[in-house]
Symmetry: D3
Subunit: 186 residues, 6 copies
């Protein structure tokens, strides 16, 4: 698979862009040096596994969906909410199709089916992955509040409203009343 | 599950530390502002899924193992290679046991079994996850070389030597001869 | 003008977002910490004045057009080139209309007419401002090359091809053969 | 104009230094990673245009003065207030004369006359540009306060006291009572 | 001394690692971009001299001890407190022995004796240097609190409790009630 | 000593500014995020001790002189070389006098005598400290070259020319031919 290997390597480099792209919404909140999309997505995948475990769903599948849910941003960047109304949202499945076009079949199918399932939001695992996306933002908002960033209520509120699983909602309730350093005292 | 929710939230905050901890080895190579452990781990998990797919193993399981493989570093930091000889390597399973002690049972089992399987390195998925860890470092080394960092050969060589799967080895061969911008021209 | 003052102050804060948003294209080239849109736009405005002076056009007008040419990015972020094909380019005049809607008339007209003139690309000053935009990118590409970033040829070439004024072209030719530190030796 | 082009290119590189120099005063306030001189100057020029528009002055001229008002800092750095008493303030016109000495006549005259007019502070446009300089600092101080920086009153007060135009004063009054996120709710 | 010179130069490069390694404990407090070990150690050495002067001890000796007290971290990184229990603390004298093995005798003895004296904590100068280490952390904690970081009490309290000299304790008491900007008003 | 303690604490905070101020000269070389004055001064002090040891001088005294040699920059910032001709160099002894005016006598005398001795450049220890200042810049220049920064020859050459001690010169010769990673292979 000589060409396959090159295609996989090139794809690996494309994924590297996620390590540099910043989460754009926080720039509006005044944060000068916000976390990257990869940093966000990492905790999303971890939380997706945990939420799925508690919900009795498949943790590995939920994590897998989370791993690819923002991978299109290598090509679009991280679009802030204020963009809505000015452009039509890009279609993730189309971007994923282009990104994976030259990959060997198994990898291509794997990623496309993960993006399909996440975007469809029909399976429990897709719901868990999406809740993890919102919950991660909420945890980060509390963490920013904890180092002085004042205007995070909008982020916390929108996260809470959009949570669909019981586990996601319960963790969110607990998180807003907890110190990000709580784990050190346990 | 009131206490369970607090335990899960506190655990979520602990995982947030991975978004701030830097990959210490690159400081030796002269990089002033290297990527975080979370940024590294994110691409490791993505690559683990891809390698497993190509190797005919379970991609979701391989990704799940990768997601937790550095999660102990919230408590130990990222130890550089030069530390060896000066201290006994911390035992990941013990740290994971402490980190997950107050979690509800399903999450606790999930994470502990993932760390167990990764550390044992017996399953194909564990091999794929470990290869992904090395391959991610290799890709990052080439990316640093591409922006001027001269002394990355040590990182590239050690990564190549340690790869165990055919897919990992093939991607590595392709990657060292490829521009990190190759994906834009495809 | 109590409400006018609040509208102007709020607009001033919106412009502050440009100080935090990074120029997204450089993330593809491997730059981890690229300059902000405001940093880019500042030198664009300065170069626009200089190019216009040499071209016998109105330097102050050219600079003014440059000052607002990226101001819509507070709402859209800085979209990388790879986004094309996945979304319809946002219409700058519509965003400017929204941004300036509550401003007092003089400011509103000033900014809208500047964006109109820049987008139309009919006046010499608009051509100078656009050339300044490309030239700034070229200077920055050479500056990045000078600190080790290897893959900047694409940026330099695309800038050179798009330059329309003689002055812009001549500065570009000189710049690619010059050290960014040349000013210290003069 | 072969030499002229090289002189203009070298001057363009000198202006690039402003993209890297940080605003030194904020280091005293505890900010570890403050904005660059270029980021500051960009909003100054935008605000200068707006203030001039409201004051019935020439917005393009006011913006042009603002564009060059800190350009000498490529050679001196950004001197903090605490330096006063320890050295004689550098004379901006002399530095500008040196910076522009080899530029072709039109560019040279353009920049020198802009610096002359700004330093003289006789024209309305010069007053508007200077007020924009102070107002930008005030907006930034509020923005820093909004992300947790406690000691910004000194910066806010000194900005307010030094404002000369009615428009500048009115925007300042409005700004201190406004959220930097107010523009998102309008 | 051809080899001696190379050994000294290589040692100088090893010390350069301290300019890049971050103080890991602050990552737990939520600080994304904490100061380096070198930045910390610099103020420790300055404070050690001052404390020793006030205590009637040898300021130059106390400063010298402080200069090397964290120099082993080029090889171990900065270990956070949460690591305790998971590994045996590395023995500083052993690392120093390795770091200085190839240095010419005078430099080797100088550094080894400084580390010995600091680790033994028998001399007044060693006590002053250790108090300076704690006091520097306390000053930094107050500085972080002053820019919005909420959870610094743990750092302040642990610093205060561990101070042994009267001077160290008195400065600490004064520092917690003082603005980090107080020096500007004096 | 209640007031004395407050004066010492305020002085400690003033020294904290050195942790944030960047070494301005590197901005000219294209480095966007150069090291702080404290990071530089730390290695200067360490090198001063080593050079003095090899030269048969007093290492602790040489280090002490180095510790305070840039401490005036809390008030002046780090002035780049290009400033010369535009302002009279500030007199370090006058700034130190002001900085230490309210300190208790022992600390005041300690710091003033250290600055006096360094500025006079008569003692061997003062020569060693100054050589350490230049040598540190040379090591850093090689380190920047090693991560891609092209234009560092000016810094290396000026450092080499100004070195006065045999030890300083020998280390410099060795350093320019050595990899900054050499210590890892020894």
């Amino acid at each position: 698979m000589p060409d396959d290997a090159a295609a996989l390597a090139a794809f690996g480099y494309e994924l590297g862009v996620l390590k540099r792209i910043r989460r754009a919404g926080w720039w509006h909140a005044g944060v000068r040096d916000p976390e990257s999309v990869a940093e966000h997505s990492m905790r999303v995948a971890q939380l997706a596994a945990v939420i799925a475990a508690e919900e009795g769903a498949d943790p590995a599948r939920a994590a897998l969906l989370a791993l690819w849910h923002d991978s299109q941003e290598t090509r679009t960047g991280d679009l802030p909410h204020t963009v809505s109304g000015y452009l039509t949202k890009p279609e993730p499945r189309r971007i994923t199709a282009d990104q994976t076009e030259q990959l060997p079949q198994r990898s291509r199918e794997l990623i496309r089916s993960a993006v399909d399932e996440y975007e469809a939001q029909h399976s429990v695992e897709a719901l868990c992955a999406k809740d993890a996306d919102k919950l991660e933002m909420l945890l980060q908002a509390v963490e920013y509040r904890d180092i002085g960033v004042h205007r995070v209520e909008g982020w916390i509120d929108s996260a809470r409203k959009s949570l669909k699983t019981q586990t996601g909602q319960r963790i969110a309730e607990a998180a807003v009343n907890l110190s990000p350093l709580a784990w050190r005292d346990r």
